[in-house]
């Protein structure tokens, strides 16, 4: 609620964005969305709703066919260090140790060696990986890899953190622990987070706002503000009520896809 004290400023503005791929498939159609600074937004929907495409546009990996994406009022044309990205497949550099992976951002920002090391150590510690600095990604579990990837994105101190189904490849237990960790980290250092997921429970557990996306073509179906206090209890009646409501919406969209 401390956000309310400060005037909420628009951080990311998506203006009439559509995306049609070369094969004629329309992934997104006329999407408008405004995301407030320091907010935690989940893009929720079944596969094929264009949620990852939308995230890719904010990241600068994908260019919209029509419309534009503005971050801090500037149109996004390419990837940049102001927008950190965490991928489902971790995307760690396999030839770099955990520490060296986290050092990558500071390295290409040309920070002096000692400073790089200090920043990287601090962020590895923040994600609970102190003592694993010299391990290579192949020596880490899935959860640990994703912790390294989060530390790597945050070590650059981006103003926006984009997460593309980051916990999708993890088992249920690891997933819940990392969700809690993610909230802890976010509450310490409030970035504007955009988090793509197809898990209703995950979106309601984490986000201030859940953007439910429709399929065929991908667009926004509903925006749900979740004002349950953190830490949220998944067995709380209000949580369950919201979950049921969202589930109904998502189900309608899945049904549109036909046989899956």
């Amino acid at each position: 609620m401390d956000q309310m004290a400060t005037i909420t400023r628009t951080k990311i503005r998506i203006e009439g964005v559509s995306k049609t791929f070369d094969n004629g498939l329309t992934a997104l159609a006329r999407v408008n969305l405004e995301l407030a600074e320091n907010s935690f937004t989940c893009l929720l929907g079944p596969s094929g709703c264009g949620k990852s495409t939308l995230l890719g546009m904010i990241a600068g990996f994908v260019q919209p066919t029509t419309g534009r994406v503005l971050v801090d009022g500037t149109e996004v044309t390419s990837a940049g260090a102001d927008r950190g990205v965490v991928f489902q497949e971790y995307a760690l550099f396999p030839w770099r140790t955990a520490l060296e992976n986290v050092e990558f951002g500071p390295l290409v920002r040309r920070l002096p060696r000692a400073e790089r090391r200090r920043v990287a150590m601090e962020h590895l510690e923040m994600v609970g990986l102190k003592g694993h600095e010299t391990k290579f990604p192949t020596e880490l579990s899935g959860g640990m890899k994703q912790r390294v990837a989060i530390a790597r994105a945050l070590a650059n101190n981006p103003s926006v953190l984009l997460m593309d189904e980051p916990f999708g490849a993890l088992d249920a237990q690891t997933r819940e622990i990392l969700q809690e960790e993610m909230l802890r980290i976010w509450q310490q250092d409030r970035k504007t987070v955009v988090f793509v997921t197809h898990s209703i429970s995950e979106s309601l557990f984490l986000a201030d706002r859940v953007v439910v996306m429709a399929t065929k073509p991908g667009c926004i179906k509903a925006i749900i503000d979740v004002d349950l206090p953190h830490p949220r209890d998944r067995t709380d009646p209000e949580f369950i009520r919201l979950e049921r409501q969202v589930k109904q919406m998502v189900r309608e969209e899945v049904d549109k896809l036909g046989v899956i």
């Binding site: 990837a79 260090a81 995307a91 030839w95 140790t97 390295l107 010299t134 290579f136 192949t138 984009l162």
Partner: protein, 281 residues
């Protein structure tokens, strides 16, 4: 992975498994030794039987392992073997260094530029299927019967695998890693130096190893045609005088040198690609 292994990896030194004598490993080593001994036994047995009973061919044409060893000692005493080894090795190394330099640098340039690729690739695809040996007589005409023709020939033969693996390594870098690097603020130069190059390194090293193997492969042929030194010359010279044990000696020495260098390159590979090695353990 067991805890001691992790402890070893955590230490700053390269991971080196503790030499532990377990019976299973010992059994494998014993079997491998038997395999080699069996090979020599069959060879010696056949050579002996041929000389005494079978008369399959003239005993001169089927020397025993001991004869080869004796020839080796004689040629070492006269210094002939060492100078032939040195001659071959120096040609291989010079040719290989040229091939490595051209293969890696051209592979990188072509891998980064679609224009260069369209320009050069068809040309190289045209040449690739032609066995390098087909060009050997021409190389001799162009570069003479001295060192230059052999070095050029080795360089030509070793170039292709090095160029190809470098090119493939540079071209097929995981696009996800490039996206990750871009969103961490890497510019084009950083991307090449910190992502493309290390990602291509396993391919480049494999290419270098293949190229080196090929250098050894073709040196013998080059020295058959026109040379007055080298291991190929040793073999070809022996052929003229029916010195079969000398021919076998030449082959054995080439085998040993090839084996040794392959081992050395593998050790280098394991050190450079430590991050990959750990995944296999």
């Amino acid at each position: 992975m067991s805890d001691p292994a992790v402890a070893v990896l955590l230490a700053d030194e390269p991971a080196r498994p503790m030499p532990r004598l377990d019976t299973k490993k010992l059994g494998v080593v014993a079997l491998r030794t038997v395999s080699i001994l069996l090979f020599f036994a069959i060879w010696a047995g056949f050579s002996f039987a041929n000389a005494r009973y079978l008369k399959f061919f003239n005993p001169i044409l089927m020397p025993s392992p001991l004869d080869v060893l004796r020839t080796g000692i004689e040629l070492t005493k006269s210094g002939e073997l060492q100078s032939d080894i040195l001659a071959s090795l120096s040609r291989v190394l010079q040719g290989f260094v040229i091939a490595a330099f051209l293969g890696v640098s051209l592979g990188m340039a072509v891998g980064r530029s679609p224009f260069l690729e369209s320009l050069l690739d068809p040309m190289l695809e045209l040449l690739r299927p032609i066995p390098p040996l087909a060009f050997l007589p021409m190389m001799v005409l162009w570069f003479g019967i001295g060192e230059a023709s052999k070095i050029a020939f080795i360089a030509y033969a070793a170039f292709f695998p090095i160029f190809t693996t470098t090119l493939e390594g540079i071209k097929y870098v995981d696009p996800l890693l490039l996206r990750a690097a871009a969103s961490l603020g890497a510019n084009r130069r950083d991307m090449f130096r910190y992502v493309v190059l290390p990602a291509a390194m396993p391919g480049i090293i494999t290419g270098l190893r293949l190229g080196f193997g090929l250098s050894f492969f073709v040196i013998v042929a080059a020295e058959f045609i026109a040379a007055d030194s080298g291991l190929g010359y040793l073999i070809n010279d022996a052929r003229t005088f029916f010195l079969v044990s000398q021919m076998l000696l030449g082959a054995a020495v080439i085998g040993l040198i090839g084996f040794t260098f392959n081992r050395l390159l593998r050790i280098l590979e394991a050190r450079l690609l430590r991050w990959r090695k750990t995944a296999w353990n």
